[in-house]
């Protein structure tokens, strides 16, 4: 059974096709990187896979469950860190985690124990009585990640989890994610930080203007690019990315009034 499987998945906003006929397969236990330039349709795809958006056409299955027809069953097995916050800002961190735990019907003692452990691990324990409005950007991100893993999801969706995170926290989160992969969790990650994707992901897909332009194991994709091999490394993910989305030559452009 595939962890994630989409068939002809599409989403239109008026005339714009944000996602256009996406056929994606992610095997269970893979660390999957989903890449693409701004506005390519990554978040839209994640929102459809996690039930926040209804697809305009096509189907998607998570661990064999249809995301539309068996939405509740599918959602029980996934964790999500959405691109924009899904936090209730007038709760404290522990209150929010308790809220989340209950939404997944977890027993109270488990919620309390895990919530305490997560707050401790993320370095948020001292801010337990602070309302989330007063959290810094990075603190919110850490809390979002805590909320996404508290119920032991089998598939984890992360939309830009490293955005605005310091180096220490980034390291910590990476090690948590690797621990999850080791325990058989599937992770679906979008990130613009290609070095991190290169370090973490075993498979990647690249989407451009709503269409899939590449999909496969990272090594195979890198081997297939014609690009300048820098510093003796094979071909970098960046070169692959630029060649696929047509971003070469952007370095020469600039603002007219600064010339």
């Amino acid at each position: 059974m595939h962890a994630i499987e989409t068939h002809d998945l599409s989403k239109r906003f008026g005339d714009v096709a944000a996602v256009d006929g996406l056929d994606l397969t992610v095997e269970a236990g893979t660390f999957f990187g989903f890449l693409g330039p701004n506005g390519a349709g990554k978040s839209t795809t994640i929102n459809m896979l996690t039930g926040l958006l209804a697809p305009s056409a096509g189907t998607a299955r998570i661990l064999g469950r249809d995301v539309v027809g068996e939405a509740v069953e599918a959602k029980r097995r996934i964790g999500v860190v959405p691109e924009q916050s899904a936090l209730f800002e007038r709760l404290t961190g522990p209150e929010y985690l308790r809220f989340v735990g209950r939404m997944y019907s977890m027993p109270r003692p488990t919620i309390d124990a895990r919530s305490a452990e997560l707050m401790e691990l993320m370095g948020l324990a001292d801010d337990g009585r602070k309302l989330i409005v007063d959290y810094s950007h990075g603190m919110r991100k850490k809390l979002s990640i805590s909320a996404a893993v508290i119920h032991e999801p089998r598939v984890l969706f992360l939309d830009e989890p490293f955005e605005g995170i310091d180096a220490v926290a980034s390291r910590l989160i990476r090690s948590i994610l690797q621990q999850m992969i080791a325990s058989g969790v599937t992770i679906f990650l979008t990130s613009h930080i290609l070095e991190i994707v290169e370090k973490l992901c075993s498979h990647v897909a690249i989407i451009h203007q709503g269409r899939l332009v590449a999909q496969g194991p990272l090594e195979e994709l890198r081997a297939g690019v014609e690009g300048p091999a820098t510093d003796g490394e094979p071909r970098s993910l960046e070169a692959l990315f630029l060649s696929l989305v047509g971003g070469e030559g952007t370095a020469e452009r600039g603002l007219s009034w600064l010339d």
């Binding site: 039930g51 926040l52 939405a71 899904a86 404290t92 809220f99 939404m103 309302l131």
Partner: protein
């Protein structure tokens, strides 16, 4: 000036973009309908003010002229200051706080905020009455335009300024106190008032006249006591100036001076509060961290027989209401209203209504009225969710549980309000009897449930994002209209039941009939829950987007 125009342009643009969707158009139409209703009301009040003043001036009865002027002044104050503050009806909604990133001085920001508040449509409910008074006196009766213009104009400015300042103050005060502190203050104040009430009411007991003139007398008495308030200053000053006695100049100028001082004080205080708010970066500190955070909510936690998701949402909802400015403010304001109502009208209403004794009528009316306070949270239930809106659709929960949880949290909050009402009323006005107290509770519950039934659909259909730290927290235009319709419907139903009950002559018939009404409503609620849930789930994209709108 350029900035002001930019702001107006911004507002117009935002309004036009709001019209892009079908619901936006529907809501705008409801807004127009409401404006027409309000305009009709305003025209009626303006005509009444003009006519009354005309006849009193014709009779040259300065005592009565003064009373009419007082009535116009206090009516204006009611709609300029009291109503916006009590109901959070300020609709100006200009994003002043967000302008703080631009190179504008605090003074400029304050002026923009004041302007936005003055431009609120609500002021059209009372400004025309002042204008009518001016025109009747000056054009109709050849009064001195300078004196009338000065007094009425200054009164108008004063009220506009205080509307703005009062909202700023209330917002700051309620945000700085936790719900517990507010309840403690209210309890203390109620006990103080209750302990002096018997004496106060005893002194009014002597004469018995018909209801209306009693009310007028009570009002006039209150006005005498309040002669330092702007409407009284304006009325007294005008009467003195109008009489044209040579020795009227000093008291007249004195009144005008005081009136100007009130206005200046309003500006000064408003600026101070506004500047402090800016310094704290928006929401005042206590509303943000600390106050009450982290305490358990035993009430919700104990309902273990409910599904976890229902409890989770209910606990979140109750916390939000108790941490919101509106929620705290209602906790403080509802008892004040109960005290005012019971003191001002208790002895004034001597005739029984439909066979029910006056205290009972008053009590039922007050309970029905108090249920209005729920309309903010019922008809725009997703006002404060922001990003949290996503969680309802991200997590594996039945949308029925989301609705049930939200309703439950709101009912628990309203149970606190209803309890406050009953306790305050009994302490201040005396017990209306066990049967009546039950009827009062049932009335409150019936009104609330009727609102909830409708609100579950309206909230999902017309969501408007609101700032949790503001007193102004109005639903969409349609939501507001719906709240009026629901209240009117439920009030007439309860009135009908009271009439039927009075025919039987037994006190216990009314609570029984009300229980039947409530049971029927519960049936409808249960029957509609699934439909409401499907509706909610179907609108998730819009809801997430609407909740996201930053203010």
């Amino acid at each position: 000036m350029g900035r002001l125009l930019t702001l107006i342009w911004l507002k117009a643009r935002m309004w036009r973009h709001g019209l892009r969707s079908g619901t936006g158009v529907a809501d705008a139409a409801a807004g127009v309908a409401m404006s027409i209703l309000a305009l009709l009301f305003s025209l009626g009040m303006t005509a009444a003010a003009g006519a009354l003043l005309h006849y009193r001036l014709l009779a040259d009865d300065m005592d009565r002229v003064r009373i009419v002027l007082l009535a116009i002044g206090y009516y204006s104050a009611l709609f300029a200051v009291v109503v916006p503050v009590f109901f959070g009806l300020e609709r100006a909604g200009m994003p002043i706080r967000r302008l703080a990133v631009f190179p504008l001085s605090r003074g400029a920001l304050y002026r923009l905020s004041l302007f936005a508040s003055c431009a609120a449509g609500l002021h059209l409910l009372w400004l025309p009455s002042l204008l009518a008074a001016f025109l009747v006196a000056v054009v109709g009766h050849g009064a001195d335009p300078l004196a009338w213009g000065a007094f009425l104009g200054m009164l108008g400015c004063c009220l506009l300024v205080w509307c703005h300042t009062a909202l700023l103050i209330v917002q700051r005060l309620t945000a700085r106190r936790s719900a517990r502190e507010i309840l403690a203050i209210v309890a203390f104040a109620t006990l103080m008032i209750a302990s002096v009430t018997p004496a106060a009411i005893g002194s009014l007991e002597e004469e018995t006249e018909d209801g209306i003139s009693r009310i007028l007398e009570v009002l006039a008495g209150a006005a005498r006591a309040a002669s330092v308030l702007p409407p009284s200053l304006a009325a007294d000053g005008l009467v003195a100036a109008h009489a044209g006695y040579s020795d009227a100049l000093v008291p007249g100028l004195g009144s005008l001076g005081w009136l100007t001082a009130w206005t200046a004080a309003g500006v000064g205080l408003g600026f101070l509060v506004f500047a402090r708010g800016l310094r704290d970066g928006g929401a005042p500190p206590a509303s943000r961290s600390g106050a009450g955070a982290g305490r358990g909510l035993p009430g919700v936690d104990r309902l273990t027989w409910l599904p976890g998701a229902v409890r989770a949402v209910a606990a979140k909802e109750l916390r939000y209401l108790l941490r919101s400015t509106v929620g705290r403010f209602s906790l403080a304001m509802v008892p004040v209203i109960m005290i005012v109502v019971s003191l001002a009208f208790d002895k004034a209403i001597t005739t029984s209504f439909l066979g029910v004794d006056p205290t009972g009528v008053l009590f039922l009316g007050a309970m029905l009225y108090a249920s209005i306070f729920s309309s903010n949270s019922v008809f725009n239930a997703f006002a404060w969710e922001r990003g949290g809106m996503r969680t309802y659709f991200m997590f594996p929960v039945d949308p029925r549980h989301v609705i049930l949880g939200k309703n439950l949290g709101m009912w628990l909050y309203n149970a606190i309000i209803a309890a406050e009402c009953v306790i305050v009323f009994v302490l201040v006005a005396g017990s209306p009897g066990v049967a009546m107290i039950m009827s009062g509770w049932l009335t409150f519950a019936a009104a609330l449930l009727a609102a909830t039934l409708t609100g579950n659909f309206i909230s999902a259909a017309f969501p408007v994002s609101r700032d949790i730290s503001r007193v102004a927290n109005s639903p969409s235009q349609i939501g507001f209209l719906a709240s009026l319709v629901v209240l009117a419907t439920i009030a007439s139903m309860i009135g009908g039941l009271a009439a039927i009950a009075s025919l039987t002559g037994s006190l216990w018939v009314l609570p029984i009939l009300l229980t039947a009404l409530l049971t029927a409503e519960i049936g409808v609620y249960v029957a509609l829950l699934g439909t409401a849930a499907r509706f909610l789930a179907g609108r998730r994209e819009r809801l997430v987007r609407a909740a996201q709108v930053a203010l």
